[in-house]
């Protein structure tokens, strides 16, 4: 019984392209949490350099993380910028909309990234709802 589990664990870490999947999802999260921009550029570089069209899990996670990062940028930077530049800064209502929008959007994106990372760690595919490509 115990023997069984060890072999299952080993087989997960032996999935050959699992590492790249983990890196892709980590970069998505780093981009959202600690080093916005920089992590995204590394992700673009990996996306361009490595085969992202394969059906292997690394290809899946690279495509998903790449697409989701672009959407995250649009939702967090562009939409917020549009809101802030069109709304009146001297009204509390502006902040009552913009801050909750940003916080909810950001936390949902981070949660999705954590799930993506969890699946990458488990050596499985993951599909970002709406913001990830469907294949």
């Amino acid at each position: 019984m115990n023997q069984d589990k060890v072999t299952i664990n080993r087989s997960v870490s032996e999935i050959p392209d699992r590492k790249m999947a983990i890196i892709a999802e980590s970069l998505y999260l780093l981009n959202l949490l600690i080093i916005p921009g920089l992590a995204f550029f590394i992700l673009i570089w990996l996306f361009a350099k490595y085969d992202n069209a394969t059906t292997m899990i690394s290809g899946c996670h690279l495509r998903q993380a790449f697409s989701a990062s672009i959407w995250a940028g649009l939702l967090l930077v562009l939409v917020t910028w549009v809101m802030l530049s069109t709304m009146n800064h001297d009204s509390p209502y502006t902040w009552m909309i913009v801050i909750p929008y940003f916080v909810i959007c950001h936390s949902v994106l981070v949660l999705l990234g954590i799930m993506g990372l969890a699946k990458a760690l488990a050596g499985k595919k993951f599909h970002y709802p709406i913001i990830g490509p469907s294949s």
Binding site: K5, W95, V103, L111, I114, A122
Partner: protein, 452 residues
Amino acid sequence: MLYSSQRIAKPYFIAAITLFTIQVLFGLSMGMQYVEISIPLISFDTARLIHISLLIIWILFGFMGAIHYIIPEESERELYYPKQAIQLFWIFLSLVIVTFFAYLLLPYATLAKITGNQFFPTMGREYLEQPTIIKLGIFAILCAFTYNMTMTVLHGRKTVINLLLLTGIAGSTIVFIFAFYNSSNLVIAKYYKWWLIHFWLEGTWELIMEAILAYIIFKITGDREIVEKWLYVMVAVTLTTSILGIGHHYYWIGMPEYWQWIGTIFSIFEMLPFFFMVLFVFNVVNCTKCRSSNRALKLWALSTPIMAFLGAGVLGFLHTLAPVNYYSHGTQITSAHGHLAFYSTYVMIVLTMISYAMPLLRNTVTDKIGQRFEILAFWIMTISMFCMALFTVIAGIMQVYIQRTTDINLPFIEIQNSMNILYWLREISGIIFMFGVIIYIISFFVAEIKKT
């Protein structure tokens, strides 16, 4: 269920759910007063006192129930003192009932006087309002409980889960000693008060929560090794961030300025334990090969980390940086965080445990109807609490903006008036939450009991 002393969990759970219901009712009565509908007989301050005290107490009941259930199973033996465990329950419950009615019926000052607060002053601080003798009672109960659990584990199998539970309850008991320390210097009094409140909520209780979550996930997946591996990670992160994270309560109470740096830096990372909880459950639980047929349990177990991430992690982070907290301290933003964090971590983990243990304790058939009610209750409670926190955050932003960033000098009450609509929305969410609680309670009565 393998050991008969696990049955002691049942009265604890029933008491927890009952007190929970009463707590929510008192919350609703306060929400009404916010929108200027007066409630006969119950003043705002009494309701607030009861609302907060009951919250802490019923979660303790929930934890004690959970721990009475888990410890025998993990230790592979009966409780060391099974009889005393059930006596302890009744003593605790009577203490709670006496205190409840004392709060409700007596003016607080009178209560302080007749319980001799002038000789040993510990009363009057938020969360620590209990008369000194009641505090002594709670402390004695915690000691007896910890002792019984420790003896059980020492004479049985030791696992990561039960050792962590022991650490959690022993730690909670030790820091409760600070409830007895009070100083006439307000700064020092507050300094030590947070040792108790912060170290319970973000320290020892968080450890208990992680242990219960790990136990439940182990029950769902059947793989102990990987659960324990993650448990080490979560505990390590909790301990390294939460201890100095206490600084986020020291920004403006008169402590030296370096606390603003310490509090800010360490509490940024206090969201990490919740990050890892989400990572853990979604990494480990593979729904295609779940053992358990309890759908409600899976829903609770997978949602608890997500909601905890939002309530404690995100809403905590939102106001934990000293420059932000400078504006938000003690506003509705704090209240929003307090509500969502408590619901998402401790309420949800206790209800998760009840969802797992109650059917086994009551010997119910894997009942479709009860499950359906429970799942419905889950969604109603979780969504309405989320909305309540959202409306309260929005009210808080408005409050901060008008009260603390502009030069308009409106009286406090007028500012509160301008947020009336948000207070209405909050109260409506609260009423919907109450419906959720009612449906939750019904779910126990519609369940079919197996005939033996």
